[in-house]
């Protein structure tokens, strides 16, 4: 039963997120708002129920598998990808590297500065 309880909590939060996204016309998908809903609920409740931890951590362990079906969709766009192949390759690699470097460096500096400033 705990697995069913945990899944119900997750799906319930997703449902609430979906409702929020539709009714307030927020351009953020339901599951992401569902994450916010669950986080707020956990902060109020004060601890993670065992059933929720079981279901949630089970799902997160196989997170990468869940991306496969959408990725297979690349096969539909072979033509477009072929037309812009090198542009895509160069843009993806360079821009991802720049983003990783800039974000990592900025956060690293700020984090060190802040934890030092707070007299950690």
């Amino acid at each position: 039963m705990p697995l069913i309880m945990g899944m119900s909590i997750l799906l319930g939060c997703q449902f609430l997120g979906e409702l929020l996204s539709r009714s307030l016309a927020i351009p953020v998908p339901g599951p992401v708002l569902g994450m916010v809903v669950l986080l707020v609920a956990l902060l109020i409740h004060g601890r993670v129920p065992d059933s929720l931890r079981l279901a949630g951590e089970g799902l997160l362990r196989y997170l990468t598998l869940l991306f496969v079906p959408a990725g297979v969709g690349l096969m539909v766009h072979f033509e477009l990808i072929k037309a812009d192949f090198w542009v895509l390759v160069i843009t993806l690699i360079v821009s991802t590297a720049v983003t990783l470097g800039v974000t990592g460096k900025v956060l690293d500096r700020l984090a060190k500065h802040y934890t030092r400033g707070a007299g950690k």
Binding site: L38, L66, I81, S95, L110, Y114, T115
Partner: protein
């Protein structure tokens, strides 16, 4: 059994959700094995290998994507509750997140602006087609959000989803190497950066190789980046005059 019956059986099976579901799980298991054989090389990321195996299989078997997705959608559907579940590690590490709140918000904004404008600038410079460019723009955001954004700004949602996945695997390949070069050691910083630049892939990798705290920060970055990008991207697009 004669040949005609076998033929009918194949027609039945290839249109059945069972086959694509089974093929997806088998491909993923194989891909994980191959990744281990390749000494966990980021260039043989299990997801990319699994996708390549499946595309090969579908083309050989003559099954189109819509038919495949009828079965695979059961796996795809679990992305929703899994995204919600990211609140759990986030809750577990709430103290550390609270302490780093200001750096996190600033880094998130810097990261998003860097990701979107570097993508658009390089794409424009190299002369990408407008629909490719608009599908590329949301590439560092988790796929469900990226598809929504791409649709909103006039890109192609399913192409955007594919580019998001490629970004994820590029990020996983480059991340550890870049962190070493730039002397970034803090696992929470590494996790956050991976989650921002490489969304779910970066998050999954952070969980697997850097531990639960890095995973929590990656999940936080992924959620935050998704939400903020959804609001910021249309603005940046108009700045570029697209």
């Amino acid at each position: 059994m004669n040949l005609a019956a076998l033929d009918e059986l194949w027609v039945y099976l290839s249109g059945n959700p069972l086959l694509s579901l089974l093929a997806t799980l088998v491909a993923f298991t194989l891909a994980t094995r191959i990744n281990r054989l390749a000494k966990c090389s980021p260039f043989a990321h299990p997801v990319i290998v699994a996708i390549a195996l499946l595309i090969g299989f579908l083309l050989l078997a003559g099954i189109d994507y819509a038919t495949y997705f009828e079965g695979a959608q059961f796996i795809h559907f679990m992305l929703g509750p899994a995204t919600v579940a990211l609140a759990i590690p986030l809750f577990d590490h709430r103290e550390r997140v609270r302490r780093m709140l200001v750096p996190i918000v600033l880094a998130c904004l810097t990261g998003i602006v860097t990701a979107v404008s570097s993508t658009l600038a390089i794409g424009l410079l190299l002369g990408a087609r407008p629909e490719t460019l608009l599908s590329l723009a949301p590439r560092s955001v988790t796929s469900p959000i990226a598809m929504g954004i791409a649709e909103q700004i006039g890109g192609i949602p399913s192409l955007a989803a594919g580019l998001v996945l490629l970004t994820g695997s590029v990020g996983c390949a480059l991340g550890p190497w870049l962190f070493r070069r730039l002397d970034i050691e803090d696992p929470s910083v590494q996790g956050f950066t991976m989650g921002l630049a490489a969304h779910g892939f970066g998050t999954a990798q952070s969980f697997a190789s850097l531990g639960a705290m890095a995973g929590a920060f990656a999940g936080l970055a992924m959620g935050l980046t998704g939400m903020v990008t959804a609001f910021l991207l249309p603005l940046i697009i108009s700045l570029f005059g697209l």
